[in-house]
Symmetry: C2
Subunit: 200 residues, 2 copies
Amino acid sequence: MSSDRSSPKQESSSGHNRVLDEAERLFRMRGYNAVTMRDIACEVGIRQASLYYHFASKEQLFVAVTERMFERHRIGLQQAIGENSHDLRSQLHAASVWFLSQPPVHFLSMVHTDMPLLAEENVKKLSACSYQSIFEPLRQTFIQAQERGEIRDIRPNWLAGFFLSVMESIPYATTFPGAAPKEVMVNEMIGVLLDGLKPE
Amino acid sequence: MSSDRSSPKQESSSGHNRVLDEAERLFRMRGYNAVTMRDIACEVGIRQASLYYHFASKEQLFVAVTERMFERHRIGLQQAIGENSHDLRSQLHAASVWFLSQPPVHFLSMVHTDMPLLAEENVKKLSACSYQSIFEPLRQTFIQAQERGEIRDIRPNWLAGFFLSVMESIPYATTFPGAAPKEVMVNEMIGVLLDGLKPE
DNA sequence: GTCTATAACCCGATAGAC
DNA sequence: GTCTATCGGGTTATAGAC
């Protein structure tokens, strides 16, 4: 359905955003290098060259896709944490529910495999974006829990990284035969973490 | 396939192994897809076509490189754990010392980005190889600690994955400005983990 | 906005000389 | 064992018609 003329800012599923959606799905599944502009165009239902009407290059498309994804996480994460701002356990639980509701970010793959293929300018942009969207909200959560005396004094930087690294491994860990459901694994992780962080 | 018996064991840095060394370094730094046979040949100091005297294809070279790396980890890990077979803390410490002594494996990137580009046969081979070289030794370590009553009863599968995922994130986490040294982070992680796993 | 056609380049792999 | 030369194919990106 392509009636686009009337509404001035009708970008919901029109062209631009449709490209972003399919590109995000493919980039997430196979990484930046293994996805071709042909693949993306094919999923959208147009020809490869037509993509260049919407985005100037493959790299710019990837940056736009990734920035949009991080912004989604910033909003979702801040809302999840903010709605449970009383104790750390419910905050971490809400954060984990948010992560499990989203497709995996594959953050380490992105940093290690995708980023080095981009211009340094874009690497800086995406690194800053990931930091303030995902890392910083979690870091603040741990800092506040420490100020409330809920957990003992361990570098909040490290606690955020710890939590994220385990969350990132969940999609892989649950591919094992006989593995527990994601939710169970996450709750056990939070339990162990909070027990290990009890104040003296 | 006949092999010449004239030279007894002169394969240390001779041709074949020299290719394996440089290929391993490049594949680890940039991943399978982003490294070309020309890159590898250039590092070895030969021409791209000459690589095909040693390995039948890029994929076979990657498989050989990765199998050799996992075998190294199997030996190193089993030795580190076996030499400290009295309490879990010293075993995990020894395992972490081993991992920090080696270049990072980038396991999640390998599974997510590199593996899907290989033939299914090779994916199975490398998956099995990674499991028995890295995952299974750690899993057995946790199982034995549970039998000794050192830690409470949590799926050993999950504990091994937990430990590994954090170890894998260390190379990235220590790129942050003002981050603690790797050894400090690992020791804090082991401390938190063991406190969180104390038996009732 | 989408198309066709194509430029310009890089890749893995093979053939065959030395 | 290493070389040169090259083939066939895939890639990003551009030009210009509709």
